[in-house]
Amino acid sequence: MTEILEVENLQKRFGGITAVDGASFTIEEGSITGLIGPNGAGKTTTFNLISGFEEPDGGTIRFRDKNLQNIMTPSRDERVIWGGASALTFGAIGGIAGIAALGLGAAGTLGTIAASAGVGAGVYAGQEKAKQSRASHRNSRPFMLAREGLVRTFQITRELEEMTTLENLMLAPQNQAGENLANTWLRQDAVDREENAVRERAEEMLELLELDHVRNERSGNLSGGQRKLLELGRVLMIDPDLILLDEPVAGVNPALTEKLMARIETLREEGYTFCIVEHDMEVIMNLSDTIIVMSEGKTLTEGSPEEIQQNEEVINAYLGGN
């Protein structure tokens, strides 16, 4: 087995509070890994860090041997485009200032100076942008991770409530031709064809998750359990390698929980990798191959469910006391 995710000495502070304090662990490809720990142990923060929604203060995360920050950093081409756009903006402002000054008649020279200063500033800003984009763009770009095959769900389900269940699923697939504005007008046939294919996949997913009877319901009207399923379905539509599930069965009724667990099990066998934060111990113990226990921002221990249940340290972490 190979490691798909490697977390090393992860750090995250909010103000004075250290939420994650040197967590380290790895996730094997094709496994289901449970992440547990008492309240405030830093599990959700760790999830946010891995999925790129927050920026770590220290430590590294490697996904398929690629540093997460590198994945999220814009490519050289993007930086050039950014630089160009900035140059254009500043140049335009400079140009307008120049024209304005020319219009005053007497101040023609001033106008030219302003214009060239504007362009100069634009070019400079462009270069700076290209240099700095590593820092400034880093964490507004978690979408780059999904493109690489690392996706997450949210603890409190975040369905797109005004959209139907079907639409929620159809949104997910990557690189749809119809997401490009030009294609919607110029290559309508291709867009329609692809759309039909996406719809077919989405319908299959709905059937699989037994959501087909609510396919045209606004997702805001679904029950809590159905929303959890929808979230799962939505990330599966991307066909990712690693799926981070944040409390997938919280608020789901027992029958549906069974089904969900079975479903995750099957998916694992199909080759997906899961990392799950869950408070329902029954679920996590039954489902996981490996369990990582976090406490006070650190990884406390790691092992099979049986080992974890016998571990004194873990029991202490949960019950407190010395």
Partner: protein, 471 residues
């Protein structure tokens, strides 16, 4: 010695503009911060105040109301109505704080017999009403009338509109749109009554001053000189003979150094003295007040002599007593607000609600009343700002307040949506507007607001959450 106006003049103008912006921005920031409403109607509240003052100041020009006005002033019927409205406004303002029980004194924070509460409120209301009608048609009576009326009217926005939308859990964007609709309603209601004419106040601007007559609206020149032997200030009329010096203040370098030295020492001393206390006058404010006191006292005591014959450098500031008065008024109002926020239980409750509304409720603070207070203050300050603005510009137009809305918002956002930040932001914006117009050649005065906005834009690009930072 011909001297020109320069940067110093622009800075002073900036402070005047900043003061007016701040008067409006305070209410805007309070409402934004505590009631969570980015109130686009706030500019029009200023307009409302400015036009309300006309009822007292120029009753003959108010359509519908002119029937109650006579040539020399307001008729008995008109006075009666003004009295009634003033009394009702004062009582209405109190009523907003919690209905009949508030009128009985419940909001005072101490136990009072209902009769005493009621009587006190009634007496205050009657006194205000009497001040309005006996003062009419003077400018100050008009100002008082506008302010109490706004204090009663503005909270209606909260109780009839915003509270209902809040109950429906309207988003911030929705609140923004709602306030825009309200802005429309307020502005055009005023126009429905007053029509499209431009109006102005009638104010006796000549006041006695050290035995002479001083027209407070007429600009004066304040010439500042730096010469071999020291620093001097000459104050002249802008009209008539150049030589018509009103006042000369001259200081040798030694005197100047002494004043500065003493001021610094006093400031440092006061800072040390107030450090670690959290009263109304904290260390920084105390130090500033001390230093300013020394400057004024020292300046008065040591002034002497005449203007230098061959100064190294001279610059001229053109301003009028009225404009300086606006700065003082704004500072005075800010001092009042500061006192309210720091020293009274109500003010502390406001700050607490701003920090954490849920926790404030847990502590037993009636957050709904706090919110109403905030709207009342917004109304009072807004009306005051509006009337002053109308007086300063010497004419009232329907866009008076809306034109000021953007600088106010710029100030509030720069300061990070809280009262103190808003005051700071307003002065930054005011200075940017005036200094920008002065410093950039070819920029006409119409560009004041754009300049304010460019400042905001640049700040937001660098720090998307404002200078002071979000809460």
């Amino acid at each position: 010695m011909a001297v020109e106006t320069g940067l110093t003049n622009a800075v002073l103008n900036g402070i005047v503009t900043g003061s007016i912006v701040a008067l409006g921005a305070i209410g805007l920031a309070l409402v934004y911060d505590i009631a969570d409403v980015p109130n686009f109607a706030h500019g029009d509240l200023l307009t409302l105040g400015a036009y309300a003052a006309l009822f007292v100041n120029r009753p003959g020009t108010v359509p519908g109301f002119e029937a109650f006005a006579t040539d020399s002033g307001i008729g008995t019927g008109g006075l009666g109505m003004l009295f009634f409205v003033s009394v009702a406004s004062v009582l209405g303002t109190v009523y907003h704080l919690g209905g009949i029980r508030a009128l009985k004194g419940e909001w005072w924070g101490i136990d009072v017999p209902p009769a005493i509460g009621l009587a006190t409120h009634a007496i205050v209301a009657v006194v205000v009403g009497a001040l309005v009608i006996f003062g009419a048609p003077s400018f100050l009576a008009a100002l008082l009338f506008a302010v109490v009326l706004a204090g009663a009217l503005v909270p209606l926005m909260e109780s009839y509109v915003f509270r209902k939308f809040r109950a429906k859990e309207a988003s911030l964007a929705m609140m923004l749109i709602v306030s825009l609709a309200l802005a429309f309603i307020v502005r055009f209601s005023i126009q429905t009554i007053f029509g499209g004419e431009i109006r102005s106040y009638e104010v006796d601007t000549v006041i006695p001053f050290f035995g002479r007559e001083l027209d407070i609206t007429l600009a004066k020149f304040f010439d500042l000189f730096v010469a071999n032997n020291g620093f001097s200030i000459g104050i002249r009329e802008t009209r008539g003979q150049e030589a018509d010096l009103l006042l000369t203040l001259s200081y040798s370098w030694l005197e100047l150094a002494a004043i500065i030295g003493v001021a610094a020492a006093v400031a440092w001393g006061v800072y040390r003295w107030r450090k670690g206390t959290a009263a109304v006058i904290g260390p920084r404010l105390g130090a500033a007040l001390g230093a300013i006191g020394v400057f004024i006292l020292g300046g008065a005591a040591l002034s002497s002599g005449s203007l230098p014959a061959d100064p190294w450098y001279g610059t001229r500031v053109r301003s009028s007593p009225l404009r300086l008065g606006i700065i003082l008024t704004a500072l005075g109002m800010m001092a009042l607000l500061h006192y309210l926020l720091r020293a009274t239980t109500l003010g502390k409750a406001m700050r607490a609600t701003s920090d954490n509304r849920d926790l404030a409720m847990v502590r037993g603070i009636n957050t709904r009343r706090v919110m109403m207070t905030v709207w009342i203050i917004a109304g009072l300050f807004g009306a005051l700002g509006g009337v002053l603005l109308g007086f300063l510009f010497s004419n009232l137009t329907i866009n008076l307040g809306f034109n000021l809305l953007l600088p106010m918002f710029a100030g509030v956002i720069l300061g990070g949506i809280n009262v103190y930040g808003a005051i700071f932001g307003s002065y930054v914006v005011g200075l940017a507007m005036e200094v920008g117009i002065f410093a950039i050649p070819g920029l006409s005065a119409t560009y004041r607001i754009p300049v304010a906005f460019v400042v905001l834009l640049i700040v937001l690009l660098v720090k998307p959450e404002g200078i002071v930072g979000g809460n």
